[in-house]
Each structure stands twice: as C-alpha cells, then as structure tokens.
Amino acid sequence: MADVNPLLRIENLRVHFPLTGWRVAARRGPVVHAVDGVSLTVARGESVGLIGESGSGKSTLSRAVMGVYRPTSGRVLFDGIDVHRAKGSAERQIRRRMQMVFQNPYASVNRRYTVTQIIQEPMKVQKLGDAAERERRTRELLDLVGLSSRLAYRYPHELSGGQLQRVAIARALSTRPDFLIADEPTAALDVSVRAQVMNLLVDLKQELNFSLLFISHDLATVSYIADRVAVLYLGRLVEVASIDDLERDPRHPYTEALLAAVPRPDPDAARLYRAPGGEIPSAVNPPSGCHYHPRCPLAEERCRQEYPPISVLSGNRRLACHVRAGDRPAPRLGAGAGDEPPVPYIDPSN
C-alpha cells in the first residue's frame, strides 16, 4: 500500500548544525546531528504522528520540512516540489499550502499584535484577498476554532493558553493549507485544555481534510490523532508503523519503552516494560552502531558495531533493529484479539 504519489515526501533528510561559529572551521569542527537521514511520507488526508523524546530532533525535522532550516543533504518534496529549492510561484504555493502550529502559543505569536492581526498575518504576507475579505475570513476562522469574535481585538497576554493556541491554529488555517505540521501543540497547555485542543484538531482535520504531521513526545496523544506513527531516536527513525500495529506489537525496544511510559487505566496491569535508563545520548557524538544500544536491553555485539539497516516488514512497517528484524510477530496472548494489552517484554538478562 505504499503511496506512489504522497503529498509530502522526506528523502534521506539530514540537518547538521556546526557547533563553531566560523563557517570555514565548521566543515571540520564538531557537528550536532539533529536530523540524520530521515525518510518519511505523508499521504493525502493522512495523519502521521512523530514521536521521540527531548533532543531526538523532532522540532528540527519539522522546521526543516517547513523550509526554515536548510538541510545538510536530502530533500523534502511537497506535492513534487522541492521545498528548499522552490522559487516564485512554486514557493508561494508551498507557503500557502503548508502551515505549522507551534508548541508554545505565547512564543509563536507576535505579542504586539491583536488576535485579528495574528490571524491575518499569513494572508497579508501572501497578499490573499482584500481587507474586507480578510476580515470576513478572520470571523469565519474564529468561529471555526470555537472562539468568540469578542476576542478579535485582544492581545495575546489577555488570552489563556488554550484560547491562544486556538488563535494559532486559526492562523495556520487562514491560507486554507492542505498540509499542517503540529509541533507538540498541547505540550505547553494546561492538562484541562489539552483534550479540547486535541478534539479541535481532530474535528478540523475531519472537516477540512488536510494532511497532518503531528509531533509529540507522548504516544498516548499521538495515538489519539495519528493513522501512522514514526518513532524518532537521536535524529533517525527507528520504527514506522500504523498506530494499531505499533500499540499491539511494538518491535523496536525503544518503541516498547515509550509504550511502557503510557499510563494505562488498569490497576492490575503489571508494569513489566522497562523504561529506557539514562538520558538520550549526545547528538554531537552519537554512539557507535545502533544509537540505542547503550540503553537497549537486547543489545548484541553487532549493535555496537554497525547501524542496523531499515527492514520492511509486513503491513508496510519499517524497523531499524538488528535483533528484531528477523523476528516473527511476537507471541500474543489469545492471538487475534486486538484489544488485548500488549505482550510485556521480558528482559532476557534477568
């Protein structure tokens, strides 16, 4: 079911940041491998979740896809157009059709602008419509995201985080995009309003049918909205699978650990998964071989030597793991019962 003509195609994208300020020295100096060879597609109307912990390169990837960061190598094709090379009308098209919602609404809007000015800024920059038309569109958008038009002339500091994130969503939708990146849009919000914002996104996606790349560090949030999930670890994708496959049968030890971190409303479920020990390693000097091996309970000798190749498994899953690549599907309790809790992974070293 590989999509021949996906809306977004990320091809072997690398984004490295030199640590030294001098450009000449940068070629040899230490480099942060923020994104290190990521390939991913998003089909039309699909919503893909991207998860990973802090420092895994989620935000760098999203900014590179939006064309804010230049890739070190690789490319990003949006509907066949190279995002970083587009000029003129192609670039205008991309800017209109791709939009982004950021993590912290207070930081991602200009604090000197009113709600109306914030929502209209993309339309103004792209010269869409005349003033009256933009005004009408603003009311429409406020209504769409469930905000009273009485808030139209408020300033950001006069709104709550949830309200302002709705404004940011309205801004992103103002140009009628068909692709939206949401970079942890609920992480900075109060727990009480997270669900509201998530519901809003789900509803909007259904209504407007845009494609979505939803970024989060929380698998529970992603599973709420995503059809497919990509797991990012230290700048590389370790596993890509549909959300059902991933939750039922996580293959990569890191995915298992992330699943273990999701609290389950079942007091009897034993917490047998092991959370990954320690911190995410440095992206300046990533570990040799598989980047996950220092934290991986399954690590073997070859994991320390070489980075595992990406293997394509049934159901169009992709996995980068030496140990699990040849595995048959993990044994299940009562095979076929999709609602069973995932099979606990038992540490072989015990």
């Binding site: 064309g67 791709m98 982004m100 912290n104 207070y106 930081a107 604090r111 985080g161 801004r171």
Partner: protein, 333 residues
Amino acid sequence: MTGTANDAVNGPRPRDPGQEPAAAEGLARPSGLADLVARLTSTWVSRISLGVLMVFLLLAVFGPLLAPHDPAAMGRETLQAPSAEYWMGTDEFGRDVFSRFLQGTRISVFVGLAAVAIACVVGTIAGMAAGFSSGRIWDGLIMRTMDIVLAFPLLVLVPVVTGLLGRSGVTLGPVRLTAIPLMTLAIALVFVPIFARVARSSVLAEMEEEYIVAAKTFGARRRHILFHNVLPNITAPLIVQAAFAFGGAVVVEAAVSFLGLGVQAPDASWGTLLADGRSFLTLGCWWLVAFPSLALALTVLTFNLLGDDLRDHLDPRVRSSVRKFSRKELTRS
C-alpha cells in the same frame, strides 16, 4: 480559563481595577498611548518628573515670548540680585538673566531633543541592519565603526567638530550649517553607538523568538519580519534609552558651550550662562550660576527618573518577567 488565573499571570491591570476581564470582554481596549500615560501618572515621582518635563518643554517653545525684557538689552543696573523686576537678577552688562535664561532654555532643550532624535533614528537603523546580518560582514563593519566613535571621549569629539568647523560653518548643498546645527549633529554622532548597540542586541534577542520562525514558515520576507515583527518589539528599550540619552545630550551641550566651543554669543544656552557667570561667583553673584545649574541638574534628574519609569512600564523584559518565567517552565518538554 477564568479571569482570575489570567490576572495572576499578567499582574494587575491599572485600567480596569476590580473589574473581571469577563465583564470587560466587549469593551474596547485602551490604546497603547493612553495606557502608558495612565501608567506613567500612577506614582508621585513620575507625576512630578512628567510635570517638570512639561514645564521645560513649554518654556522651550513659548519661553522667549514670556521674557519680561529683551535678553540682549543692556541696562545700567548691573549685577543686581533677584528682585520683583528682575526675577533672576541681572548680569554684568545689566541684561535680565531671566530673559537670557529663557532664551538659553530653548536652545539647550532643542539641541538635546534634535540630537537624540537624530541619534535614535540613525542608531536604530544601523543597529537593526547589524543585528539582522549578525555574524556577516555588515554586522562587523557597522559595529566596529560604532566602537571607533565610542572610543573618542565625548568631550573631545564634540568640541573638536564645533571648534574647527563652527566658526565658519559648513555648507552642505543648499543647507548652511552654523555652529548650533553642527553641534547638534556632533552630539548626535556621539549618541548613535548607544542606540545602535541597544537596537542590535534587541534584534538579536527577537530573532530567536519563535514567532519569527512562524513568520518564516508562512513566507514572510525580510522586510516584513524586520519592520512588522521586530521593530514594534524593540521600540520599548529604545524609548527608554532615548530618555536617558536626552539628559546626557543636554549636559554635553552645556559642557561644550561652557568651554566656549558650542553656542556663541549673542545666543545663549545653559552652558554659556554658566560660563559667563562663573567669574562673578567670587563677588557673591550666586544668581548668575544658580539658575542654569539648577535647570541642568533638574533636567538630568527628571529624565533619569522618567527613563527608569519607562523601563518599568515599557520594556517587556521587565514588565512580563513573571510571564517569561512561567513560559520557560512550560517549554521544558
């Protein structure tokens, strides 16, 4: 989200005390300027300093019209102490010191204002250009030029310019610059680096903000980012700096004129009044020196207080320190 939670984060709002934001939802927000004036008149110190500022401005504009005597007219009553007839006494030529003082106020205040205005505009443009091209050749070129200007002591650069060029004046196309405009330009030059540095560092700080990234994602051009996103956010520290710089500019003008290298007779400024009166101090003629000195001290004090006040009310880094802190806490994912 309830209004009380908002208020706890953003601090009290002076415009609608005791009013729930929910109730005020339909009301028009007070304009930025009205809001600022309300804030600036909220304490006695700021009210007094605003009052003194207004008095000086009014004296500068209308002062010479109020002068009871011709400031240049000499009389027989020389070196008279202040009286009902001569409010600030008379000088050694029998001229009315009060009338001379009003004339001097106009020149001192206008030179200060013009110098700061020029410095602010030029410095801001230079600083923004440097900040926006941070790390590239323009940045280095502009800021090193500013360092060179800063390296000259204030009281050497201005007198040299006015002393060398002031007597004959300089002709720039159709404009003929005499001593006073030249001195204004020289003082402006000295203050340009201060504004350039503030503008540059503010631009650098703003460019790191996420709303700039957001603007880039929807295709904003450099010019839009610089003038519509960055500039409105860096005006506050620049206005604060302008208030401090005005006090400094007035003092520099007075010092240069005191040395005899600035304003020339028959014009007067606070500096020349001090210079003229200084030799008669030993004769007990305190009034010649007292009033210009007082005016100078009061100006500097007023503008420093005003600058502090503006900083408290305008500079988002001070004003929203509470909000900034909680934002930092939240973004830690």
